[in-house]
Symmetry: C2
Subunit: 205 residues, 2 copies
């Protein structure tokens, strides 16, 4: 078991989730992605549906900012919006995970930002060219070929909006990651190998 936390930011259909699961298996640590919400919901009394609604709304950047600024679901402007509350709960949960020292792989959730000053965190970003993302989205995820481009675009826009809103930074800037990898010409297993090699080198010294 490793005590390292690996965070993975990723474009939709670049293979980030599969790579993350492979890494977690190989390191013997827990894998987190949207499932982190189950833990947080349980701990804080939010429902997973409320949190997923927050994600869905992030697809429209302007509306998302507005709903955060003026509150939503009954929260007034004098209090934190529910989006902010989710984010803060998530932020604290991720920090807690890192401090516990049992390692983990976290896909998405702005985890690179949360752990930016944490020495035992390795931040990775996975992207790919359009052709290889379309191939994975249709063949592996089973998406309809007619809608896949729009769907992929919407998903990445939502991720960029969510990241920008909560971190103030542009999503997918190489300087926020230890390693950025174009997965287009690689198998998921190979990308996991490459990341493990980086982790070994970084902590052997």
């Amino acid at each position: 078991m490793s005590n390292k936390i690996i965070t993975i930011g990723r474009e939709f259909a670049s293979g980030g989730r599969l790579i993350g699961k492979e890494l977690a298996d190989r390191l013997g640590v827990t894998y987190y992605d949207k499932n982190i919400l189950d833990h947080i919901a349980e701990k804080n009394g939010y429902s997973v549906e409320m949190i997923e609604e927050d994600e869905r709304r992030a697809k429209n950047g302007f509306f998302y900012s507005l709903s955060n600024a003026f509150g939503a679901a009954g929260y007034g402007p004098d209090t934190l919006s529910i989006n902010e509350k989710f984010f803060i709960a998530q932020f604290e949960y991720i920090l807690e995970l890192a401090k516990e020292g049992n390692g983990g792989v976290i896909v998405g959730r702005c985890a690179d930002y949360v752990l930016r000053d944490f020495d035992d965190a390795v931040n990775v970003f996975i992207f790919a060219d359009e052709a290889s993302k379309i191939k994975r989205a249709t063949e592996v995820y089973g998406l309809d070929a007619d809608d896949v481009k729009k769907y992929m675009g919407d998903m990445d826009k939502a991720r960029a909006n969510y990241y920008k809103y909560h971190t103030g930074q542009k999503w997918g800037e190489m300087r926020n990651y230890d390693l950025s990898i174009d997965s287009s010409n690689l198998r998921e297993k190979d990308v996991a190998d490459l990341i493990l090699k980086y982790v070994d080198m970084r902590y052997q010294a």
Copy 2:
């Protein structure tokens, strides 16, 4: 000997040059950086001094664009500026190298852009945090500690201006590289290992 061309974009003092030399040694191929100018100068009758003057001027983005637009060193506006001529000669030389199939490592020179559609090219960008760059610049390159920050900033600004002018793109965007690596916590040798691992994986399939 490998037939692959590895291009390395890099921030000043991130170790890109040392990593490139290590890679060239390990692959048994020729290493190119500013020394590419010797070959081009010889072939085209330019002097290395003229080319270095072009680089120096790139430090001022506005003046650099102006000097390209209106010509320099006796070239009128009706002809290509000398900067453009250098760039085109360099562009052709790099393409020629790639087509010859003897491999190589090219540091800088917008080589990633020149070879962006070339299947046997692997494009890498190396960057690092300020502390580790200052350490390398003073301890390895022997720069004066008082001036090092300004010098590093000027060098990277020149590289960004040069890249922007000649490629129309922002320097250091992850999507232009197969692999972007923060070298801060790694030895140059380890970064070279990581790149070689990527090359092996990419071409094994």
